[in-house]
Each structure stands twice: as C-alpha cells, then as structure tokens.
Symmetry: C2
Subunit: 407 residues, 2 copies
C-alpha cells in the first residue's frame, strides 16, 4: 500500500520497551512496502504528571502556558520513537506540531486544526524517511503552542492522513477492533470487519471508547479510511469507512451502552410555553451537558420533565433543578444514577422497519422496564435500571443475531 | 534600571515551590522598576531523567532527536514559571528557543547561537509583560530544534542580554558571587564586588565553576555586564565587566585550583625535530584535551616531556603514550593523578612585576615542590602534589592580601 498513517496512544508508548515494540510494528509496515507517518501520544502517566506540577503552583493555570507544558509530553515520545527506529536501521525524523506545521485556531487547551502543511513530510517521505509527528498539538497563527484537548492525537492522525492523502489511517489501541458489544458483558461479542463513520460515531458517543469522536467526524468529512487495531496483538482490526453499496448490510452493527449517565426528573411543572427552556436554560448555563430529554404529555395543566446528564454532574444538576422547581412552582425533583443507556446501532436500520418493535419486545420478554426512549436515523436508545444491563445487552445481542458471522 | 535579563539554573527551579520563589524574585525586580526577561534551565534531575529514557533505547541516540528530547526540559520550566508569575499578578509569556527565535547552527547537542530575533520580546516588554525564555535551546535554519550543550542556559541569557541591549544579565546560582578562592579551603575567602571578563574566564576555566566559560566569552565580546547572584540569599553578588580605568586595580583577584587533572610524563625521548607532535599527535587524535605542556632542555641527546590531561583520560592517555614510547624509542612512561593545579589570577599582574617570584617564594617557604609552571598575561599556574592543596592556597591567599578588603 502507498502511504499509511499510524497512531499509537499513551499505553502503547508507556515505556522505552513499549516504544521499541512500536518501532518494530512500524518497521513491519515499512517492510511490507508502505511509506509510514507515525503519530504518537505522550507516554501514559506523563500528561497527569505535568498537570500535577502546574496544579501545585496554581489551581487555575494559564491556558496558554498549560499547552506549552503539556506539549512536551508528545515531544518526548517522538524523540524516543525516532531513536528506536534509527536503532533498527530505519531513518526517522521527528516533528512537533509546530514544526510540521499543524496550524490551529487559538483556543488553548481545545484548539481545532485549521490547516496542515504537508510539504515537509512529503519531502522526508520522498527521501524514504519514517516521519514521526507529535499528536495532540499544533501552533496558532502567532506561533503559540496549542493543544487539541484529551484524545486529540486521534484527530491529529486523521487530519494528517487527510492532508497527506494517505491510503489508510491506522489507530493502534489496547483492543483489536470494534466489537458488536463489550465482550466483558457478552462473551459471544464479535469483532466487526467494517463499520461506517456514522455507526462508529454512534458507537463512540454511546460509550464504546475506541476512537475519539472528533477524529471520526474528521475522517468522515475528508473520507479517510480508519482502521482500529491492537498494539499488543496481531489481526486485521476494524475498518471504518463511508457507506458503500457493496458493503455487507447488517441490520444492526452493534450494541453500545453507557453507565456514565444519571437521570434528573422534575414533576408537576405548570405546563406553559417556554417551560423546557426554563428548566434546561440554567443547566446549560452551568456548563452541564444534557443528553436525552423527555417531556410527558400534559396532565391537569402540569407536565413531567426528565433528562440525563453525566453522573459527575448529578449533584450540581439537582441543586439547580431544585431552585428551578421553586421558581416554576413544580411539585418535586428527583435524581437517579442507577441507570444505564443501551443503544442498538446500524445503518441497515434505515431501510428496515421493525427494529424498534423487536427491541421493545425483547426487553418486555425479559421483564425489563424501559424508562426513556430516544431514536435517531441509525440508532435506538433506551434507559433502563442499571441492574438489567447485562441481561438486556445479551438478549438484544442474540435477538439481532450479532453473534453470527454474516454470510 | 531599564532592562534586566535574569537566569535561573536547575537547582533554582528544582520544584514547584522553588519556581514560586523564582517568581517572587522576578516580581521584586519588576517592582523596583525594571523590565525583566527570565531565562530558565530544566528542573534539576530532569535532563538526566530524559537522557536515561533515551539510553534505555539506544547507547548512541541520534543527536537530532536527543535535542528534541532534551529541549522539553526547559519547556516545562518556562510554562510553570509563567503560571507562577501570573498567579502573583504579573502578566507573563513563555517562549521556547524556537519561538523567540534563537537561531543556531545545526551542530546538534553543541549548537552555537548565530542570531536572536528580539522583536517578539520587545513587543511583549512594551506591553509590560514578563518574558520567560527557555535556556539551552534554539532552532536551526531548517527549523530543527537544537541545544547548546550543558551549561548552555548561561549562554542563552548573555546572548539575549546582548541582543536586547539589556542593562545587566543576572546569573542566579547557588553561591552568592565569585570568591577570591574556594571558601571551603580558605575560610577567609572574600566575595569580590567586581571582576573583569578575562579574570572570570581564567577563574572559570581553572575550576571555579560559577559561570559557564562560553557565556563569559560571549559577554566579553558583546560587552554585557554580568552579575553572579544567589537564588537562595540576598546580596549584591559579583559584577563581571570589561576592565575600566576607574576600576579598583587589585594586583591579584583570586586563586583558582583544579583537582581534575592528571600528569603524564615520557622520559628519555630521542630529541629531534617533531618530537612534540610525535607525542601529542596521537593524544589529540584520541580526542583527549591537553592543558599544560612542558618539555625539558635536552640532555645527552634525549629529552623529558610532561603534560596534563583530565583525570578521566589518564588511563587512555597512558596506553597511547606507551605505544608512542615504543615507536620513538623513549626510556619510560609514567602517570600521576595525585596532583593539583593552582593559579593566581589578576589583570593587575600586567602592570606589576614580581608576582611570579612572590608566588614561588611563598611555596618555597612552605617547602612545597613545584612540578610544572605555566603562565599567561593575567595568570600564573603551578602544578603541585595534591596533598599540599590547602596549605598552598591558604598561604598564597594571605600573601597576596586577598583576605583584606581593598581600600
């Protein structure tokens, strides 16, 4: 294959020994005839060590300086990996985000990539060098160092692959691909050979933490084929691409779940125009992200309103909701963190009716009460009591035939 | 005062707490009305930690990548110091060597500064910001990260002071100035208020490890006043400047000594043209630096030849010398590491005769045998048995009146 971008995360480069293993993987790809650009994260633990130093000095370190500090993490890794590559006879050259240059906006700590200058890298590749790039970081128009925020190395890799028109972007992680669901919950879970960007996005945002969401959006926008592979095992991994007609059209690709949410309910709210904004406005102002939202039909002039937030935001959300309840004259407020969101995901859903009814039927048969429902074009999510998580996921996995290899 | 460049070394920024102390010192300088540019080293221990990582992977890491790796050390410190400055209400901005930009040649691991772009810093100073610059590092014309070699942060500070036309370059260390000699050997040793560049160079190269030699050469070339101060104590320190007529003209400024040398002797060498090259050529080819050289007058057609090298090079030097002795038909070869070099230094020496004879008289009176002698315009060095070190230095210190404050 022509050009491959390979990305290795923090656990894959955790020690000099790990870094030598990464060098061996890169060498194998090169030996198979590809040019290689490698993107690496900071050694695992390093970012937290640096953050601790900053927080020893200030509770709110300057965002600009925090990026100067954190960017050193990946810079250490690119140097060490280049040294390891040279040791096994491959000419290598490292670049920081600024050196490439990966131009970003100036939003320190969460910058977005604006442009990538591919010239320098193309020149090195033409001279048969392996190019090693620091993930997670860039430089703004004034030459300030910026970082893309946690998980930004995936985005760097995909963006580089797009800029270099690479044939594939390979993301090495500690799992060997994307599964139909979590194998720890369903031993029969099967690694998927292929998946569409949309499915991957739904799987990722629903708690299957394989790829960073922004990187998948980026890959989808620039149509970069992304392959998820294991740093620690051999195998073809899972290829994430756009939907194409020749693709195996499974009804459902996978079942995702998320244990990190909590449910907030406000009951007996006088039903009047603007009530949703009255309730969610203060929540949004407190920077609490809301996921699912349900408003029941009005009953005797009042309505019940339920939404989910991250579990870490439950207490703060409850406080705000209590104040809102007083202002609006609502009857009561409650919170519940013993919930789980389960979603079935698949682009095949678009052309097949009956997925929802099958899902509800399976859960009913297992006597699992559904607390909330939300749907999109390619997924259906339900919230249930968290004690039913394993039961529900296994039943759905079997009902949709996910344990069977497609013909 | 207008503009001051302050440099803090590794022990001054060893921890977040130390860095906050540095911030307080900077704030005090600023409060006294000066603009401040700060140059910092890596936190002590950090450079060695990084080197150990590289050496875990390769015994001979790539020089280019070693610089990418080591440059992160100072980058961490500039970020932390900027955070500490902002915490106490001073607007600060950090710059790596590449960001400034400090242009160097492309000799990785021992680059030399070619040019400094002062624009960005002047702009920040005009906006009343404290500018924090990473010492020890730069960037070459192709944008590669370079480092100046150990101790290079002093050079960065002096070069910046020259480029910015600063009023003074303050080097903060763990001693409160330059002393007439080592106070651990002579309790009466006195801190010098002033010293010339030449004297400082002789003192530094003779083993008084206060300032890095290259930085003093740089300061001398661009006439930058350098002040040596303590990070841990108050006081005016020692000001190093060019010689000026109004300056107190002590005969002798100080007594330096160096315990790191060893003596090599080859006896009974047939005396013929080219014998010095025949002996020292192979030594030089082995990259062993030679300091003092003495050749005795010829006696019965043979001569004796003695020179000093660093103690670490003694064994290697002996081996080479043994081979040389066989080739040249010399009688015998010997080595001695129980020696010390003691030097009296002072620009006043130029205009005063008799320094040498005073020195030899003092040593004779103490019955200390002189093994080698070498002189320059502003210093006289002798090699003696190391057991006489304290005795010799104390006697000379007293004889030249160094314990007396000059009138």
């Amino acid at each position: 294959m022509g050009l491959i971008v390979q990305k290795f995360g923090g656990t894959s480069v955790a020690s000099p020994k790990h870094i030598e293993n990464v060098a061996a993987k890169v060498a194998a790809t090169r030996a198979a005839g590809s040019d290689v650009v490698v993107v690496v994260s900071a050694m695992s633990g390093e970012t937290n060590r640096l953050l601790a130093l900053a927080h020893d000095i200030s509770r709110r370190p300057l965002p600009r300086e925090l990026d100067v500090l954190l960017a050193t993490g990946e810079q250490v890794t690119i140097a060490l990996l280049s040294i390891a590559l040279e040791k096994i006879g491959l000419e290598a050259r490292s670049y920081t985000g600024g050196q490439v240059r990966i131009l970003t906006d100036n939003s320190f700590n969460k910058a977005r990539i604006v442009d990538i200058d591919a010239n320098r890298i193309h020149k090195d590749l033409a001279e048969k060098r392996i190019v090693v790039v620091a993930g997670f970081q860039g430089i703004d128009e004034e030459g300030n160092i910026t970082t893309l925020g946690r998980g930004g190395s995936d985005t760097t890799a995909v963006a580089l692959a797009a800029a270099l028109k690479a044939d594939e972007c390979q993301i090495y992680t500690d799992v060997d691909g994307v599964y139909t669901t979590d194998p720890r919950v369903v031993p029969d879970a099967r690694r998927l050979d292929r998946l569409t960007y949309e499915e991957m996005l739904e799987m990722a945002s629903l708690g299957a933490k394989v790829l960073q969401i922004r990187s998948v959006e980026f890959a989808s926008k620039y149509n970069v084929p992304v392959r998820v592979l294991s740093s620690f095992a051999e195998g073809p991994g899972t290829l994430v691409t756009k939907e194409d007609e020749g693709m195996e059209q499974a009804l459902i690709s996978g079942i995702a779940f998320n244990r990190d949410e909590a449910k907030l309910t406000i009951r007996g709210v006088p039903d009047q125009p603007g009530v949703a904004f009255g309730i969610l406005g203060p929540i949004g102002q407190a920077n609490i992200e809301v996921d699912m939202i349900i408003q029941n039909v009005s009953k005797e002039g009042t309505t019940d309103f339920t939404f989910t937030v991250h579990r870490n935001d439950l207490d703060r959300g409850l406080e705000i909701l209590q104040r809102t309840a007083q202002q609006l004259g609502a009857r009561e407020v409650s919170g519940d963190e013993r919930i789980v969101k389960i979603s079935v995901v698949g682009v095949g859903m678009r052309s097949h009716a009956g997925i929802a009814s099958t899902m509800f039927e399976v859960l009913a048969k297992e006597r699992i009460n559904i607390q909330m429902i939300s749907t999109s074009e390619i997924k259906i999510s339900v919230v249930v009591d968290e004690k039913y998580l394993e039961l529900a996921v296994r039943a759905l996995h079997e009902a949709f035939g996910l344990d069977q290899t497609p013909a």
